[in-house]
Each structure stands twice: as structure tokens, then as C-alpha cells.
């Protein structure tokens, strides 16, 4: 990463919508579906540019995902979005059967994942979607951490023949990567190299926390590698195993239940390929609740301090 990294935060939802507009300018097959959350997704710019290719289905997520399946069967490449809780929990069978089992090409998007739901609180706070989606055979599941990787990975998802699930943080996020950085689905990114412990994180909330944790660890004399595991499925097995040989253990960092998310995926890779200590930072068998992002980070122990403490625990053995 030689190029300069932009310093101004960018609204992730705007990046998402602008990327779709750009894709749609080059492909008549790109269409979008919303379930009365077009304002939240900022896809109004897409609707304005391509009104005939934007479908607001109303508050009916199951119907939206089923319609996306039909559009896909017509050769279209539909991006269907709703809050994470509705995109995953509410429309799961429709996505599972009508889209995935049917072998179609639907790009499902869940916005405001985990504690990003903030003031919408527990009813809207989804800590389960990575687990649900990881269980769908062949599905690509990814969660970009910054505007640059988001734009690149949405392009990769559009080019991928098959269903994908994007966990989309909507709010302003400061870029981590320089413009033009290349990304591949299923290939994690080493953000910082290190020789003692590896912090593996996913998403716009946890990757910055992991980077901050690595700084703290450095001041404690610990050399921590940080990996942005933007694709949770298929997980980058080679990269995990490389760092299993290179460092003494791992901390997984996810804005999600520790069950069946990133940490579980890593445990599966490590147990089968190269057993190493792993400690998981994430939601520990709890429901969501209302609050600010900072409150929720502290409440659910999703902070750089907790990650650093867990890294020390890994190294103590």
C-alpha cells in the first residue's frame, strides 16, 4: 500500500449506492430492490438515475427477496437491501430456497449490522446473520471495513456468478486503504504484520478496533499482526494457516455472536489445519439493546482494550 490513504470519512451507504450506479452504467442487468428503506440505504441516487431498474417493494422483505430471485431468473443482477435483521432473519427461507437453492444470482445486503443498529435497539440488532448466512451452501459472505474495500468488493460481488451476502455498515467511515487498492472475495488483507499474535477482524467497527489494539500491544512490547478478514465465507484458509505458523495465536474480532461467525470459522480452519490458541471477541450469547455506538461497544466488550487483553491472554497460554 504505497499510495496515500484519504483521511476524510465517507458515508458507506453513499459509497454503496454510487458503486451500484457506476456498475449500472456499464451493465443493463444491475437492478436494485428496497423494502421501504431506500432513504436509509441512500439508493435514491440509483433510483433517480435508473428509475425503471429500482424497485421499492414496500415493507415486505420476504417478498422483496423472492422478487429478486425472479429478476435473477430473468438474467438480472439484483441487489436487495434491508436492515440486517430483516435481510437475514426475516427473509432467510426466501434467500435460502428461492435464491440459493435455486442456483440464482442475488446479492443480498444487510445494513446496520450488530451494534451499528444503535438507537433502533434490540429488535433491530442482528448478531446472527453471519451464522445464518455461513450455513447457506456456496454463499459468499462478506463485510467490508472501509469505503475503499466496500466499493471494490461490491464490484467483485456483482461480477461473481452466484449469490452473495454483504454486511453493510452505512455510516461515515474513515478509509483504511488507499484509493485503487485491489480486493478479491475470499482473500483477506494483512493490514499490519507482526510476529507474536494475530488479530483477525471483520467489518467497519472491529477492524479499526483491532488496529488500535495492535498499537496498544506494540507499546506493551507485543508484535501483533492485523488481518482484515472481509470475506467470512469462504474464509481465507491459506492466510489463517500462514499466520498460524508465523505467530503464537489469534484473537478474532467481530460485531456478531462468537457462535458461527468469524471466530467459529477460524476455529474450524485452525483445528483442522494447524491448532493454535484462539480467543474470540464478540457477542457472548446475548440479545441486543439500545444505545450509542460507544455505549454498545463498551457494553458488549467490542473494544481495542478488550482485544489487547485477549491477545495477552493468548500469549500467556
Amino acid at each position: 500500500m504505497g499510495a496515500a490513504v484519504a483521511t476524510e470519512p465517507r458515508e458507506m451507504r453513499v459509497v454503496y449506492a454510487e458503486t451500484l450506479v457506476r456498475l449500472a452504467e456499464n451493465s443493463a442487468d444491475i437492478v436494485i430492490l428496497e423494502a421501504d428503506l431506500m432513504k436509509a440505504s441512500a439508493t435514491g441516487i440509483f433510483q433517480k438515475r435508473f428509475p425503471e431498474r429500482a424497485f421499492n417493494i414496500g415493507v415486505a422483505e420476504a417478498n422483496m427477496v423472492g422478487i429478486a430471485a425472479g429478476l435473477s431468473a430473468s438474467g438480472k443482477i439484483p441487489f436487495a437491501a434491508s436492515f440486517t435483521c430483516f435481510a437475514s432473519r426475516r427473509a432467510y427461507d426466501q434467500f435460502f430456497i428461492s435464491c440459493n437453492y435455486a442456483g440464482l444470482n442475488v446479492k443480498l445486503v444487510g445494513t446496520d449490522p450488530g451494534i451499528a443498529a444503535e438507537y433502533n435497539g434490540g429488535t433491530h440488532m442482528c448478531f446472527e446473520d453471519l451464522g445464518l448466512m455461513r450455513n447457506v451452501p456456496g454463499l459468499v459472505v462478506f463485510e467490508p471495513c472501509d469505503p475503499v474495500s466496500l466499493a471494490a468488493l461490491v464490484e467483485r460481488a456483482a461480477a461473481h456468478r452466484g449469490c452473495t451476502y454483504l454486511r453493510l455498515h452505512r455510516k461515515p467511515i474513515r478509509p483504511i486503504y488507499p484509493d485503487g487498492e485491489a480486493f478479491e472475495l475470499g482473500r483477506g488483507k494483512v493490514l499490519r504484520d507482526g510476529g507474536d499474535v494475530t488479530l483477525v477482524a471483520t467489518g467497519a467497527i472491529m477492524v479499526p478496533e483491532a488496529l488500535a489494539a495492535a498499537e496498544r500491544l506494540a507499546s506493551d512490547g507485543v508484535s501483533a499482526a492485523v488481518i482484515d478478514m472481509h470475506t467470512v465465507k469462504p474464509i481465507d484458509r491459506d492466510l489463517v494457516l500462514e499466520y498460524a505458523r508465523k505467530t503464537r495465536g489469534f484473537v478474532s474480532c467481530e460485531n456478531h455472536q462468537i457462535v458461527n461467525g468469524l471466530g467459529s470459522a477460524m476455529a474450524e480452519v485452525l483445528c483442522e489445519g494447524c491448532p493454535r490458541p484462539l480467543r474470540r471477541v464478540g457477542i457472548r450469547d446475548e440479545f441486543g439493546e439500545v444505545g450509542t455506538l460507544d455505549y454498545l461497544k463498551a457494553r458488549y466488550r467490542l473494544t481495542a482494550g478488550v482485544i489487547a487483553d485477549e491477545a495477552h491472554a493468548v500469549l500467556k497460554g
Partner: protein, 277 residues
């Protein structure tokens, strides 16, 4: 208007579809007899009179498409598709055997001529809307046909789709509701009464009709009227008999998914062949 000769031919085809379906189910020993046999006439009139399809090019652009949302009626559709030449008739006796291309519920990845995977009830309604919207975007003049069940209509997704298809004025979508008055656990009036379905569809903004689903001329007239409606979707509620044409299934409320041995199938086929067309 269907002439006498064509009417006779449609009836002959419907009988053949029933025979093939009963043979496949009897060979297997169990299956969704009731709901397969109640849609035979609508499948027959669609594939032998109305739908533009090409068995040698099952994915042909511009074709008419069918979403059999009550996917458990797959065996009846397979009989039609085999007779049309989408795949060899010998496949029919592989129904539900391991490795088959003909699973109990419709699977677009496995079966030539199947336009949408169905089986999780309600989902075909939304898929048909997507197909109809896709046709509109693609400038494709094909019609999307949809068949739903009466029990299936307990699903909320059916009514999400009902509202949506009317909103998008999908004149290229023609639905049928197979109102055979039975669902798995009993009569629809006892389990979840849906009467009067045509009023419900009309209230949602569809062009709704109600006809005898075993009467080819009534079905044909309804389909022609539906085709003439270009600015709203159509729903043709068909009063049907669940298990129609199988002596052991008609009037048997347990006919949704039932055992059928080869002797029962053979006797049902013998009786069907003995009936005047």
C-alpha cells in the same frame, strides 16, 4: 373458443397426463396425489394451447414461463413436460429416486422446462413477480403464469405479492389458484377458511375470475379474458377436485400425500381409460 376436435384432444391429453402421473406415483409408492391431479386441466391447457415454449430450447428468450408455486404438484407438470418432449418419458419413473432429475418439488436446476424452483409455499408468487418485472425490463413479451394452492394461500407472502403485483400493474402475470378445498390437515373451510378467494384477489387490485378448473372451455375463456387485461395482473380461481380422476383419492381428505401402490395406480388407470372423453 375451443372447437369440438380440440376439446377432445385436450381431454385426451389430460387423461394421458393423469395416467403418466399415476404411473409414476404408483411406481414410487407414495406422493402428492391430490394436488397433482387437481391441476391437470390447467397444465394441459397452458402447455397445449396457450404457452409459447420450445422443448428443444427450454431457456428460449421470449418464452412464456410457469411458476408452479405449489411445487408439490411437480409430478403432474413432469408428465406434461415429458409428453411435450422436454425430456424422455422414461424419466417419469425415476420420480424421487436418488439422483433423479425429477424431485417431488420443482427444481429449475435439475429439470428441463422448469422455470422456477418452488416448494417452500408462497415463494413462487414473489418469484413470478420478479419474472414479470424482468420481462418488462428486457422488453420480453412473454407471459408469466403462476399456479398457487388454496392451502398455500395461508402464507403471508402470497398477499405481500398480491399487493405488489397490482402496484406494479403486471398485466403480463396470470395466476391460477387451485381451489380444491383441501389442505393437508383437512378441508380449507375447517383449517383456514379462504372463501371467497376471488373477492380477496379483486380487493388487492387483480382482475379476478372464478371458474370450474376441470372445464377446458371455461378455463380457456378465463385465460383469454386475462390476456386482454394488460394493465393489471389476473387471478383465475379454479374450483377443482383434489385427487381428480383417481378413484382412491377423490373425496379422500387424506390425499395430500398418500401411499399409492402399483395395483391402485393400475386400477385407477384402467378406470380412466374406460371413461368416455
Amino acid at each position: 373458443m375451443i372447437g369440438e376436435g380440440e376439446l377432445r384432444e385436450l381431454k385426451r391429453k389430460a387423461r394421458e397426463v393423469r395416467v403418466l402421473t399415476l404411473d409414476a406415483l404408483g411406481h414410487l409408492g407414495v406422493g402428492h396425489v391430490g394436488g397433482a391431479l387437481s391441476v391437470v386441466e390447467v397444465l394441459t391447457i397452458l402447455y397445449y394451447r396457450h404457452m409459447r415454449v420450445d422443448p428443444s430450447a427450454p431457456r428460449m428468450a421470449g418464452r412464456d414461463k410457469l411458476v408452479l408455486s405449489k411445487g408439490h404438484a411437480g409430478p403432474a407438470l413432469y408428465s406434461v413436460l415429458a409428453d411435450k418432449g422436454f425430456f424422455p418419458r422414461e424419466w417419469l419413473r425415476t420420480l424421487n429416486q436418488g439422483g433423479t432429475s425429477l424431485p417431488s418439488h420443482c427444481d429449475m436446476r435439475r429439470t428441463p422446462g422448469i422455470d422456477m424452483t418452488t416448494g417452500s409455499l408462497g415463494q413462487g408468487v414473489s418469484a413470478s413477480i420478479g419474472l414479470a418485472l424482468g420481462n418488462r425490463l428486457n422488453g420480453d413479451a412473454g407471459t408469466v403464469f403462476l399456479i398457487i394452492g388454496d392451502g398455500e394461500s395461508n402464507e403471508g407472502q402470497v398477499w405481500e405479492g398480491a399487493m405488489c403485483a397490482a402496484h406494479y400493474r403486471l398485466g403480463n402475470l396470470i395466476g391460477f389458484m387451485d381451489y380444491n378445498h383441501m389442505q393437508i390437515d383437512g378441508y380449507t373451510r375447517d383449517i383456514m377458511d379462504i372463501e371467497a378467494p376471488e373477492d380477496k384477489w379483486a380487493a388487492f387490485g387483480w382482475f379476478a375470475q372464478r371458474v370450474d378448473g376441470h372445464d377446458f372451455r371455461a378455463l380457456d375463456a378465463a385465460i383469454e379474458r386475462a390476456k386482454a387485461e394488460t394493465s393489471r395482473p389476473s387471478m383465475i380461481v379454479m374450483d377443482t377436485v383434489k385427487g381428480k380422476g383417481a378413484y382412491f383419492a377423490e373425496d379422500n381428505v387424506g390425499n395430500h400425500n398418500m401411499k399409492v401402490d402399483e395395483a391402485m395406480a393400475a386400477e385407477a388407470i384402467r378406470r380412466l381409460m374406460g371413461e368416455a372423453l
